[in-house]
């Protein structure tokens, strides 16, 4: 117990989390602090490139085992199925319409790269070792949830515009963040230790700094989204906290079943508990324009992300190492 609190405190005083808090403060206080969009996108590209490359380089060092396959299967299963749970909860306990509920549900099956990035830094900080191949799992989990979301929506609404279909398919298969993550992973793998030697400073030395700057921006954006929270009501806000817990704890038995290490299990819990805010919203705008983006963006950015960043990550790590660490 006190251990868990210790972990949580360590997490809360990392510069990255504190810069997120600073962003939230500045946004809520309506300071004119702002980060140009091009810079925010550049930082996001950097984080994806770096985490992908590092994952691949780690795989190049320890080799790939069949555990990646099992982990990927678990990830895909979670990504496909969690939206069903999320949809049921949203329809049962909140007043959001079917299309919006389906779109929101898809976010919770998918993952958030930055949550994973922050989480993996936390794991490393606390000595929990995770495998590089979890980065591939991260990329693989991004999009299955979109299909479930569309299926949930399609049973009622008019469904996606047929003319939007080619674009939608491209969005699902060739989403920029998936392409960059997988690409950087493969490059890290292919170029191995010698590649890592040349990019070490870039992908490791700078990582914390760029993450701080990016989280400052996330805080600013999340704060502006908080206005949308009123529309959600208490039940909606509660969903944004309960659903990541469900996602994370649904991952635990799977992780145990396939014999994951505590570190990998914690990583899978973090992925499963996180909610997308890049790939899925983009696909949902294309496919389900009826769904209200202020609902799903507020849920994902302004409620679930801060929850995971501050409480979720240390909690999942603590549980994973308590349950599987023995």
């Amino acid at each position: 117990m006190s251990d868990a609190i210790g972990l949580a405190l360590i997490n809360l005083t990392t510069p990255a989390v504190l810069f997120f808090a600073l962003g939230i403060f500045a946004g809520v206080a309506r300071s004119d602090l702002s980060i140009p969009q091009a810079v925010a996108k550049g930082l996001a590209l950097y984080l994806m490139l770096a985490i992908g490359f590092k994952g691949g380089a780690a795989v190049a060092e320890v080799g790939l085992s069949y555990t990646l396959l099992l982990a990927a299967l678990a990830g895909v299963l979670l990504s496909f199925s969690l939206p069903v749970v999320a949809f049921a909860l949203l329809r049962a306990f909140t007043k959001v319409d079917r299309a919006t509920a389906a779109a929101s549900a898809a976010h919770y099956g998918s993952i958030s790269v930055v949550t994973f990035v922050a989480g993996s830094e936390f794991l490393t900080l606390t000595g929990l070792v995770w495998s590089g191949h979890m980065v591939a799992v991260l990329a693989i989990m991004e999009t299955p949830a979109i299909l479930t979301g569309l299926w949930l929506a399609g049973r009622a609404s008019k469904g996606p515009d047929p003319e939007a279909r080619p674009e939608l398919i491209r969005e699902v298969l060739l989403n920029g963040s998936v392409v960059l993550l997988i690409g950087a992973f493969l490059i890290g793998w292919a170029s191995g230790p010698s590649g890592m030697a040349r990019l070490d400073l870039f992908v490791n030395g700078l990582f914390q700094g760029f993450l701080c700057l990016f989280l400052l921006d996330m805080g600013l954006v999340a704060a502006r989204r908080l206005n949308g929270a009123r529309k959600l009501g208490w039940s909606g806000a509660a969903f944004g906290i309960v659903m990541p817990l469900i996602g994370a704890f649904a991952a635990l038995p799977l992780a145990w079943l396939i014999g994951m290490t505590p570190g990998d299990a914690a990583a899978l819990m973090i992925l499963s508990g996180s909610a997308s805010y890049i790939a899925v919203p983009a696909a949902m705008r294309i496919a389900l324009p009826e769904a209200d983006p202020s609902v799903y963006l507020t849920l994902s950015l302004a409620i679930t992300f801060p929850f995971n960043l501050t409480i979720g990550i240390p909690l999942y790590a603590g549980v994973a190492s308590a349950v599987l660490g023995g």
């Binding site: 969009q37 925010a40 515009d161 003319e163 939007a164 996330m218 954006v221 890049i278």
Partner: protein, 102 residues
């Protein structure tokens, strides 16, 4: 010397649906077209601003100068389009040079 009159059509559309609107206009015969980034705004579906990494709900401004016939075709199709997607479309007359271009 009076200059030839054409129609300028302006549409405001979400980035997520821009590609389709451009194709629609080109399909109606628009010989040229220019897109501009929006910065912020509001409408009946809420407000938005350029920020962060998520672009799909930002608005783009599409403008095309066309002849009257193309304008009617665009309006007809765009009306259906904007029944489903957020945004607006409107038009007005403009004087041009090299009228045969449009």
């Amino acid at each position: 010397m009076p200059r030839p009159i054409r129609k300028k059509i302006i549409a405001i559309v979400e980035a997520a649906h821009l590609r389709r609107l451009v194709d629609l206009m080109q399909g109606c015969g628009a010989a040229g077209l220019t897109v501009i980034d929006g910065r912020e705004g509001y409408g009946v579906t809420g407000d938005w601003t350029r920020e962060g990494v998520f672009e799909a709900v930002e608005m783009k401004i599409v403008h095309t100068v066309v002849n009257a016939q193309t304008a009617d075709a665009v309006f007809e199709k765009a009306e259906v389009f904007f029944r489903r997607y957020p945004g607006i479309i409107y038009a007005h007359d403009v004087e041009v040079v090299r009228g045969e271009r449009f």
